[in-house]
């Protein structure tokens, strides 16, 4: 595959070539997705070094196990983000990482303030995502943000928001489903 072909290829095409051992195809996927992956890991972990390790691990795993990406089940972006987020949360929940993060956050704000809309608006798809988020209820948005960016379990979110666990569970699920529907309407998702 030539450089021009790689640049024009879909993520799915690149994944297939990666499976054949084409390192440059992995490089093209890295160019497309490593930045947002790093930003996500850094946001969850609040630690640049750990975020680098997570991104390195996820892309090496894609190289070693390319068959784990199934284009029929979703986009490469969501696949990579799921890997990055899952590993970041696992790391965060290790007690040592949690303590270190709490110490760092002690110098910031006592509350978790994600300011999701502001950051999203800076990106190409941001406006559609921002509108979709704005359509969610405060309760849905707050529960999702605490779980996703705060790395909390829904039980922890329930404690933080002083709500029943069942309420938090249903808000997370309904919020994500409504977000999905809004993004489809906006043409961001298929």
């Amino acid at each position: 595959m030539s450089d021009a072909q790689r640049r024009a290829a879909t993520d799915g095409d690149l994944a297939r070539v990666v499976a054949e051992g084409d390192r440059l195809a992995l490089g093209e996927l890295y160019t497309r997705h490593a930045g947002p992956c790093f930003a996500l890991a850094r946001r969850v972990l609040a630690d640049r070094v750990l975020a680098e390790e997570i991104v390195q691990e996820v892309f090496l795993r894609l190289w070693r196990r390319p068959e784990r990406f199934d284009a029929a089940r979703g986009s490469m972006r969501s696949f990579l983000f799921a890997q990055v987020h899952g590993r970041s949360v696992d790391l965060l929940r290790a007690e040592s990482a949690r303590r270190a993060r709490e110490e760092r956050e002690a110098f910031r704000s006592p509350t978790i303030d994600v300011d999701l809309e502001r950051a999203v608006a800076e990106l190409s798809e941001g406006e559609a995502v921002r509108r979709a988020l704005a359509d969610l209820s405060e309760g849905e948005r707050g529960a999702i943000e605490l779980a996703y960016f705060g790395g909390h379990t829904y039980r922890e979110v329930a404690v933080l928001l002083e709500l029943p666990e069942g309420t938090v569970k249903s808000r997370i699920r309904s919020g994500l489903l409504r977000l999905r529907a809004a993004l489809i309407d906006a043409g961001v998702h298929e």
């Binding site: 499976a19 390192r23 992995l26 490089g27 890295y30 930045g35 947002p36 992956c37 790093f38 930003a39 996500l40 850094r42 946001r43 640049r48 680098e52 390195q56 090496l60 795993r61 190289w63 070693r64 196990r65 068959e67 784990r68 199934d70 979703g74 972006r77 969501s78 983000f81 799921a82 990055v84 987020h85 949360v89 696992d90 929940r93 290790a94 999701l116 950051a119 999203v120 990106l123 798809e125 995502v129 979709a132 999702i144 779980a147 996703y148 960016f149 790395g151 379990t153 979110v157 938090v168 569970k169 249903s170 997370i172 699920r173 919020g175 994500l176 489903l177 977000l179 999905r180 998702h189």
Partner: protein
């Protein structure tokens, strides 16, 4: 053949939190097993993860990965490729062997069959607790087991298998020697609470009538363990059980694989 699981409203309600990695380890293992056999639930999780990916477009500051990071990734790949041609690095060789195996359509078919087979075993068989591991709780025993795992991988006739959920990342590896000695190593099992333990099951018998026999109670956060099997083993599976372990599986496995 796969056995579809009936819809479970309690587990369905957890799918949103599951997509955001917001479940406790025990619940996550239950939902892993659920989505492995319920197509409708799996489709919903896939859709919810697409939504979560949109959330991830909101960075803290910039979206530029450190430039040196790709160099590190590329150097690691070069080392692995060199090891593949030279065969010197046991761990990498093991990983590459696993990779070659996973690329085989036949392997994928076998694992799909294994999932169905395990489901059958866990629903119709009553088995006894044959082995309980005393050294799978951390400390020197676990370190010795980790070293033994590496040594076992170099023994002639060693059979290696990677345990993973359906469409999920590998959570553990097992090496089984011809004399029945087995070694498990994991860096992907989340810490459980004190009331639960991981348990390893050896699948024995025939494909038509498989039996799940406990190969070991691994503890709440196992990284390495040794075990023994006495019968011909078809594969392995992992479940989460109430501490201190169960005489028979109480739920479907969240990760499994057949020996090649």
């Amino acid at each position: 053949m796969n056995i579809p699981a009936p819809n479970d409203p309690e587990l369905d309600a957890l799918l949103g939190a599951y997509a955001l990695d917001a479940l406790d380890p025990g619940e996550r293992a239950r939902v892993d097993a659920y989505v492995a056999t319920n197509v409708q639930a799996r489709d919903e999780v896939d859709e919810l993860r697409e939504s979560a990916a949109a959330l991830a477009l909101a960075p803290v500051d910039d979206t530029t990965a450190p430039p040196e990071l790709w160099d590190r990734i590329s150097r690691t790949i070069e080392r692995e490729l060199a090891a593949e041609s030279g065969g010197e690095d046991e761990d990498v060789e093991d990983e590459l062997a696993a990779r070659r195996g996973r690329r085989s359509p036949r392997w994928m078919t076998i694992v799909a069959a294994a999932a169905a087979m395990i489901a059958i075993a866990l629903t119709v068989q009553v088995v006894s607790l044959h082995h309980r591991l005393d050294n799978a709780g951390g400390g020197t025993g676990e370190r010795a087991a980790a070293a033994a795992f590496v040594r076992a991988g170099q023994v002639a006739g060693a059979r290696k298998v990677a345990l993973a959920p359906a469409n999920g990342a590998e959570v553990a590896r097992v090496v089984l020697l011809p004399d029945g000695s087995g070694y498990l190593k994991s860096d992907g099992l989340a810490q459980l609470d004190a009331q639960h333990t991981y348990q390893l099951w050896a699948l024995t018998g025939s494909a038509a009538h498989p039996v799940a026999i406990s190969a070991g109670v691994l503890g709440s956060h196992p990284q390495a363990a040794e075990f023994r099997t006495s019968d011909p083993v078809l594969g392995f599976a992992l479940t989460v059980e109430p501490a201190p372990g169960a005489p028979q599986p109480s739920q479907a496995p969240f990760a499994s694989a057949l020996l090649s």
